[in-house]
């Protein structure tokens, strides 16, 4: 049986960790969606230098382990005088990393929209950006919802990387409680439950959104 007294005695720590994991996830989600969209558009825009920037970003970032990116923000940038606290450094690393994957998801979604849509939009007088924003992206959104849901769930779980740089998230406090009580299994089962508390509603939400958009098509 699980030792619930651990959960009760360390409730404050679990709660603080849960709140910070939630905060880091939400901030990284918004940030990576914004950077990811920009990078995706860069990669397919009819401007060569932008293509290069987009491709370089995606290929560079997604092929490096997340923890190294986080270390760059935590101990790398201070070397050149830019210092973030552990929570901020972790969240920034998570944002930059996830953005590379989101860029690929969005790019795939945009490319899945038939070419004729862009041609028709451009020939009716819209600029490239207008056509992208009003015609292409709304259609791409429907296509990218399922893979995007995957990325969001990964993002929440990947936020556990904050634990390594003392980012005060769920994993950090899980490690602390475990090392104070010498209990390993139960402590991390509770940690897993708190993660599920975030990821399962996220999963269900993505599923519901998918069904709604499928109807409206």
């Amino acid at each position: 049986m699980l030792n619930y007294s651990i959960l009760i005695e360390h409730w404050d720590m679990y709660m603080q960790g849960f709140a910070n994991t939630l905060k880091a996830s939400v901030l990284a989600l918004i940030g990576s969606l914004a950077i990811g969209t920009v990078m995706a558009v860069f990669r397919i825009a009819p401007v060569r230098p932008l293509n290069w920037i987009g491709a370089a970003y995606v290929e560079f970032i997604r092929n490096i382990p997340l923890i190294l990116i986080v270390f760059v923000f935590f101990v790398g940038l201070p070397a050149i005088g830019i210092r973030f606290d552990s929570f901020t450094a972790g969240t920034l690393g998570l944002t930059v990393y996830t953005a590379a994957f989101i860029a690929e998801v969005i790019r795939a979604g945009i490319l899945a929209v038939p070419k004729g849509q862009m041609e028709a939009a451009r020939s009716s007088g819209l600029t490239y950006l207008q056509a992208m924003w009003y015609i292409i992206l709304p259609q791409a959104v429907k296509i990218v919802i399922p893979p995007m849901g995957n990325q969001f769930i990964n993002l929440v779980k990947n936020s556990s990387v904050l634990g390594v740089i003392a980012g005060l998230d769920l994993m950090y406090f899980g490690d602390l409680i475990s090392s104070e009580t010498f209990v390993t299994f139960d402590v991390y089962i509770f940690v897993a439950m708190f993660y599920l508390l975030l990821t399962i509603p996220l999963s269900l939400g993505v599923g519901a959104l998918e069904r709604r958009l499928a109807r409206s098509r």
Binding site: V75, P78, R83
Partner: protein, 283 residues
């Protein structure tokens, strides 16, 4: 065409899974039988017997602590004060200091690893505390350390009082007594705990904290690595290090204590101490 291929593949997959579960089922039955047999034997066999039978002492040591247990990147060998003590113990039990297997432990993993039988003893700068005595048995003190602070050369922190302020960040490792001590001595400071001291030191070098706290013995090792840092003179705790064995391993514990007495009497201990710490032990 594709459909039949898929059907075949799914079929194959199912067969594989079923046979796997069947196999697992069989093997788990046999292992439970073996386990009950083992238990009967274990009752008669002490850890000390097992070490002799196996011809090898398995000790949990740190791999990331300068002076105490550090893996030398050039040779691949683990070296340090704790390692020399462990080798001497192997010599005492088995007659050969090379009949030893070192396994890496951290402050977090050492007690679980000892209790699940992966290692016979912990020699890893482990402070004897009442809390830990509930989990493991400790030998006599084999090293007396005291908690102190590692700060930048030009820092104005000179005692634990100087860090007991809002806005001061002190770094340490998870699961260490240092974390509990600093929280008690400097309740105003922010304490951040890292996986190990190497990571905490990296964070300190990156300016992510004002001081790093742990036993002075370890801090001296860090200051030796990077001369931009110094150890504060004051110590604010006594940290007696002990060798830990599983609860109830009395035979092994007796041998360890006897060994510690021997090396302290014949000067071997002073030699090891001077070799690593650079000074004679204080009486």
């Amino acid at each position: 065409m594709f459909k039949t291929v898929w059907k075949k593949m799914i079929g194959l997959g199912l067969v594989a899974m079923l046979s796997a579960t069947a196999l697992v089922g069989c093997s788990s039955e046999t292992t439970t039988e073996n386990k009950t047999d083992n238990k009967k034997e274990q009752a008669a066999e002490t850890t000390l017997d097992k070490i002799k039978e196996r011809g090898k002492l398995v000790v949990g040591v740190k791999y990331d602590l300068n002076l105490f247990g550090l893996k030398n990147p050039q040779t691949g060998e683990v070296e340090g004060f704790d390692i020399d003590i462990a080798k001497g113990l192997a010599k005492k039990i088995l007659g050969d200091e090379n009949k030893i297997e070192l396994k890496e432990v951290t402050s977090k993993t050492r007690i679980p690893m000892l209790n699940n039988g992966e290692i016979d003893a912990i020699i890893a700068t482990m402070t004897i505390t009442e809390e830990r005595k509930k989990e493991v048995d400790f030998s006599d003190v084999y090293f007396m350390a005291g908690q102190s602070l590692l700060v930048k050369k030009d820092s104005n922190i000179n005692s634990v009082k100087d860090v007991n302020k809002k806005g001061v960040t002190v770094l340490t490792a998870k699961g260490s007594t240092s974390a509990q001590n600093i929280r008690a001595k400097a309740p105003e400071a922010t304490v951040l705990e890292f996986e190990n001291y190497a990571e905490a030191f990296t964070a300190l070098k990156a300016g992510q904290g004002d001081a790093l706290t742990t036993d002075n013995a370890l801090l001296f090792g860090m200051a030796k690595q990077d001369p931009n840092f110094r150890v504060v003179d004051e110590t604010f705790s006594e940290e007696p290090y002990g060798i830990a064995v599983r609860k109830g391993d009395k035979e092994l514990l007796d041998v360890i204590n006897e060994y510690l007495k021997e090396i302290k009497a014949n000067g071997e201990y002073d030699k090891i101490y001077e070799k690593w710490i650079g000074e004679k032990p204080k009486q």
